[in-house]
């Protein structure tokens, strides 16, 4: 899966918000795959399950199962490396 990365805006608190647009809908397996990048919270009891993956000091990824969009908040420090890490992880999803 190859994401398109869209810059949303730079925040005053030193973070950067980006959206990662996917070419297919996210399933539970993909969420678990992404979750290995950090601490995963997966709210499967919601009508449409929500997830957030936090890698302390680096980024938070948030999204909803069934959508094609991951909202990502990156710390400015290490932005390029961490964005590359997330994109590589998404690219590695095969199913």
């Amino acid at each position: 899966m190859r994401p398109e990365v869209i810059h949303i805006h730079d925040c005053l608190d030193g973070t950067v918000i980006k959206e990662l647009l996917l070419d297919r809908e996210m399933c539970g397996g993909f969420v678990a795959h992404l979750g290995e990048l950090g601490e995963l919270r997966h709210f499967t009891e919601y009508k449409r399950p929500f997830f957030r993956v936090e890698r302390t000091g680096a980024f938070v990824l948030k999204g909803t199962q069934g959508n094609r969009r991951v909202r990502a908040v990156f710390n400015m420090k290490g932005l390029n490396e961490n964005l590359a890490l997330v994109v590589a992880r998404i690219n590695a999803w095969q199913r």
Binding site: D13, F43, E45, R48, P49, F50, R52, K62, R71
Partner: protein, 374 residues
């Protein structure tokens, strides 16, 4: 998943069927030259101007200038008055559509800005405002209704004071035009800015300014009349309306106002406030929910759920439950400062006259689920 729309303070939805039908008919008809003279009584721009002027208590429709919305109207006043280096008074409850033009004027000309704070409830004290205004003040810019707490300012009482000092009063009525009865002339408002896409039930890209004093136009250009002259016509409203008007948008605006008049503005307000009250009471009963300020006279207020980041709460409500709210600072950073909710902001909810009891119950169940699970 069914959508529940609670973001009417941003843009009203749904629009009455009569608005949608009017716009469809306008788009299907020959365009003509609306607003450019001719066209007789069928000119939709003239028709809209007449109806909106009556609706807002403006005796002379020529003083109603159509713009792209409240932001353009407010900029027109701030850029169009001789305010360089002067003393300006505004409030912490104002929207960035007021604060940013004033801030730019400060940066460019050294104008000083006195910001009247809000009380703990989120309300602006009329006494504090009056105390901040003196005869050296060049402009007082205030919101008629807060887009965060829904508190409404007594504009007639404020105008009495500004008029006695000869200070121009600019009122941002983005949240109140179409929501509450307004009488611009009787209240003595010098500059009254409104938008069409909120409670007036029109489309985005419409709005206006009622101007009672002189202004320099923001833009000049073609008006369809007096074309032999390279100077902008001086007559109102053409002086301020260069360029082809947004005729389909103004058709929507007129239809929106006609619908409000048919239903009765007081009756619509009562319906909205009933749903807002149902929502407020339900939220107060949910553990971890905290209201921001105290609710005012408009059907809009804000809350947070302790422990849940505001942006994520907004995203979850919308994507996981189909409940459309607004997350963030709502372009009103200073009132969030005052109420201890900056920089994280808040979730804003604003039902409409179309919102049902069942929709509020579903929205409350969604907030409750999130508050329990987070």
């Amino acid at each position: 998943m069914r959508s529940i729309y609670l973001n009417n303070a941003a843009t009203s939805y749904p629009k009455p069927a009569s608005v949608i039908e009017a716009v469809a008919a306008a788009l299907a008809a020959l365009p003509g030259s609306p607003g450019r003279g001719g066209g007789g009584g069928d000119d939709p721009v003239r028709r809209c101007r007449g109806r909106v002027a009556r609706f807002l208590g403006v005796r002379d429709p020529a003083r109603l200038i159509f713009t792209s919305g409240a932001t353009e109207s407010l900029n027109l006043v701030v850029r169009g008055l001789p305010l360089a280096g002067r003393r300006l008074v505004t409030t912490a409850a104002d929207h960035n559509s007021v604060l940013r033009p004033l801030h730019r004027l400060h940066d460019e000309t050294g104008a000083t800005i006195e910001i009247v704070p809000v009380e703990a409830s989120g309300r602006v004290s009329l006494d504090a405002l009056r105390a901040a205004i003196d005869s050296d003040t060049a402009l007082v810019a205030v919101p008629h209704g807060s887009n965060v707490t829904g508190h409404v300012l007594d504009i007639a009482a404020l105008a009495l004071h500004t008029r006695s000092l000869g200070v121009p009063l600019l009122v941002d009525a983005a949240q109140t035009a179409g929501a509450l009865p307004i009488d611009v002339d009787a209240w003595g408002i010098d500059y009254f800015a409104f938008t069409g896409h909120k409670s007036m039930l029109g489309t985005q890209g419409t709005g206006g300014l009622v101007a009672s004093g002189p202004l320099v136009p923001l833009k000049v250009g073609g008006t369809g009349v007096l074309s032999q002259s390279l100077a902008q016509p001086r007559e109102l409203p053409l002086r301020f309306e260069a360029g082809t008007p947004n005729a389909p948008g103004l058709v929507a605006l007129e239809a929106g106002v006609a619908w409000i008049e048919g239903e009765g503005i007081d009756s619509l307000h009562r319906r909205k406030m009933e749903r807002a009250e149902q929502l407020r009471r339900g939220l107060e009963a949910i553990d971890k929910v905290r209201l921001i300020g105290r609710p005012g006279e408009l059907p809009v207020f804000c809350f947070v759920v302790d422990g849940v980041p505001v942006d994520e709460l907004g995203q979850v409500l919308e994507e996981s439950f189909g409940v459309h709210t607004r997350a963030g600072l709502h372009c009103a950073p200073l009132i969030h400062d005052s109420l201890g909710a900056n920089p994280q902001g808040s979730i804003r909810v604003s039902p409409s006259a179309f919102t049902t009891v069942e929709e509020i119950e579903a929205a409350l169940a969604a907030v409750d689920t999130v508050a329990r699970s987070w």
